[in-house]
């Protein structure tokens, strides 16, 4: 009887074996530590913002400090948590496992991408420690150019550098999905998580260079006085917004597409059904990736962009709702007559469907020109994108983290506690952000820390919700690490899920599989044995 090879956690020990690892699973865990750190940092700034907004007066901070708080919250959350979160942690860990490969196509580039990400993060951290940055996470000119009075260059350089990490991850995923699929694993047998990451990678590769160059252009204008965005030098500030949003709107889809991939896997597992309309869900990922590049002007309806362009961008923005709705309807159709169970990942997934739908539909309000003029730069917008990014991406991240936790680390998390936490997070989230829709509609602008008395009740509700949300995150941060020592040992497939990753040990061995798997059935097939080994 042959002995099983050691798991990827047990083969080698010591700091060096981790910092020089080429194993995609270990690199995923390095990313997990990185994104968790930046999530905590972004969370601290969110807490400070919500505390300040508890009262109408500016009790805790000066206006300048408040500007820095919401900027740093946005910068760390968007660029260092939401964008890399699911692809770099779950994608890195799972893609090779899901397609039956030993690793990603370029393991060294994978490790390099983590180092680049960390260097970018440290630059931005330096900007924070040196005094912060106050432009808002969008770095709009002239705040970031003519009138910049904070550490814009250092923060922007951090984002510029971390962009390369994103590009390298995207290239790696595309090459891996094209070249390293197991025998028999045709495109239409791929798990939808893989399709979602393929679409995400396309956006990463095609969009990220544009924002990197845009940030570079801001630096060129500041350092060499080349007229690009400053009207006094012959430039146009709105050009910055075009260049910025050409990447940063699709970046929303970098955040949400992998999340949708997670939801497809979780719903298929806990409904014990094949995803309804598999091909539609797969192609809707590509459709979102393509259409997502054509809608950036809806951020600029009141910026001075021409009305004609506004109308075109408004129409195009409505189109993105179609593939998004295709996904939501197909998930609901999958649930129909499914054998549903409500484990923690499923609770997060169901939460995702409801919250993402609200976030998406309010996006249509904002895509409507006249409505946007009324609610632009108000708390309505803040509520909308938090429903998409927190209600969508963070819920899916937590769904995925719980779903694959036993696979990643070989231990089961405490199920009851996790379910309670999922409910707490859902309640806390809604109490935080639903009042903000009303606040925005009533006219409270974003990015102000002093507001009229009539807005206080809703702000108190929002801050109360944030504390509940924070409690939920804190509980997760306690019981998941706790489970590493005290959790029950996980079997290879504790949730009776389908997919190649569940056919190997928990945690997997260094090269993932003892033998190359051969796939002979469709994704999520439940009637037949899925895989045979050669």
């Amino acid at each position: 009887m042959s002995q099983k090879p050691p798991t990827y956690l047990g083969g080698e020990y010591g700091m060096r074996s981790w910092l020089l690892t080429l194993d995609h699973k270990r690199i995923a865990l390095l990313y997990l530590l990185g994104v968790t750190f930046f999530f905590l940092l972004g969370g601290v700034f969110a807490v400070l913002v919500r505390l300040e907004l508890l009262t109408p007066a500016g009790d805790l901070f000066q206006s300048e400090t408040y500007n820095k708080l919401f900027t740093l919250h946005g910068v760390f959350m968007v660029f260092f948590f939401l964008i890399p979160g699911i692809p770099a942690v779950l994608g890195n860990f799972l893609l090779p496992l899901m397609i039956g490969a030993k690793d990603l196509a370029f393991p060294r580039i994978n490790l390099l991408s983590w180092y680049i990400y960390m260097v970018g993060g440290l630059f931005t951290l330096y900007a924070m420690l040196a005094g912060g940055v106050d432009t808002g996470w969008t770095f709009y000119t002239p705040y970031s150019s003519t009138y910049a009075n904070s550490h814009v260059i250092a923060a922007a350089l951090g984002i510029f550098v971390s962009g390369f990490s994103s590009i390298l991850t995207g290239v790696n995923f595309i090459a891996t999905i094209h070249k390293l699929r197991a025998p028999g694993l045709s495109w239409f047998r791929l798990p939808l998580f893989v399709w979602a990451h393929y679409a995400t990678s396309l956006i990463m590769v095609l969009g990220t260079p544009v924002v990197a160059i845009t940030i570079l252009l801001v630096a060129v204008e500041r350092l060499f006085h080349v007229g690009l965005f400053d009207p006094a030098l012959g430039g146009d500030p709105i050009l910055f917004q075009h260049l910025f949003w050409f990447y940063s709107h699709p970046a929303v889809y970098i955040m949400i597409l992998p999340a949708m991939g997670v939801i497809s896997e979780v719903i298929a597992c806990f409904s014990q059904k094949r995803i309804f309309g598999y091909k539609f869900v797969a192609f809707s990922s590509l459709a979102i990736a393509v259409l997502g590049f054509l809608v950036w002007g809806h951020h600029m309806f009141v910026s001075g962009q021409s009305l004609y362009a506004g109308v075109v961008f408004s129409l195009l923005s409505f189109l993105v709702a179609i593939p998004s709705a295709v996904k939501v309807f197909n998930w609901i159709a999958t649930l129909y007559r499914g054998s549903i169970s409500f484990e923690a990942p499923m609770l997060y997934a169901l939460g995702f469907i409801g919250l993402f739908t609200i976030g998406g539909l309010t996006g249509l309000f904002l895509a409507t020109l006249a409505v946007d003029v009324h609610v632009h730069d108000t708390y309505f917008v803040v509520a909308h994108f938090h429903f998409v990014m927190v209600g969508g991406t963070v819920m899916a991240y937590l769904a995925g983290l719980h779903f694959w936790w036993p696979k990643m680390l070989g231990r089961l998390y405490p199920e009851t506690l996790a379910r309670i936490t999922a409910v707490i997070i859902f309640v806390g989230f809604n109490l935080t952000f639903l009042p903000q829709f009303v606040l925005g509609y009533l006219g409270m602008p974003r990015r102000y820390h002093v507001y009229p008395l009539e807005f206080q009740v809703l702000n108190v509700l929002s801050t109360a919700g944030a504390s509940i949300l924070g409690l939920g995150f804190a509980m997760t941060a306690v019981y998941l690490p706790w489970s590493l020592r005290y959790g029950k040992k996980a079997t290879p497939n504790p949730f009776d899920a389908r997919g190649l990753e569940w056919t190997t040990t928990s945690p997997p061995m260094a090269h993932n599989f003892e033998e190359v798997p051969v796939v002979s059935t469709e994704a999520y097939e439940r009637d037949e044995p899925e895989v045979v080994h050669v």
Binding site: L206, P231, H242, A309
Partner: protein, 110 residues
């Protein structure tokens, strides 16, 4: 026979090998393109100024991609990805120009 087989595998491993004259030909074509861009910039072609400059730049970029980056000798998949980059660039320009070409100047500004 074995040698030919080894050479073939070497070719596929290291890509298509081109004669030096092609590299130099493309290099001089790029220099000529640069000279042409400079010369055209001295002539006022009205609305065509930008179009002509972009056409020359586009041709130069195509030469680099096709020959220096070996896309001409690559698989269809590489062609699809290379073209996708161009399509994205076109979308980028078209939608930005949809704004710039239709802006109404505000009285008293600019």
């Amino acid at each position: 026979m074995v040698l030919i087989h080894e050479q073939a595998s070497l070719m596929s491993e290291h890509g298509h090998v081109l004669p030096l004259r092609i590299y130099f030909g493309v290099f001089f074509a790029l220099l000529a393109g640069t000279a042409l861009t400079s010369w055209v910039a001295t002539i006022d072609l009205g609305h065509l100024n930008d179009a002509v400059a972009l056409a020359i730049a586009g041709t130069k970029a195509a030469l680099v991609i096709l020959f220096f980056m070996h896309v001409r000798y690559s698989s269809k998949l590489i062609w699809v990805f290379s073209l996708a980059g161009f399509v994205w660039l076109v979308l980028f320009f078209v939608l930005i120009l949809a704004d710039y070409e239709t802006r109404v100047p505000v009285q008293g500004w600019g």
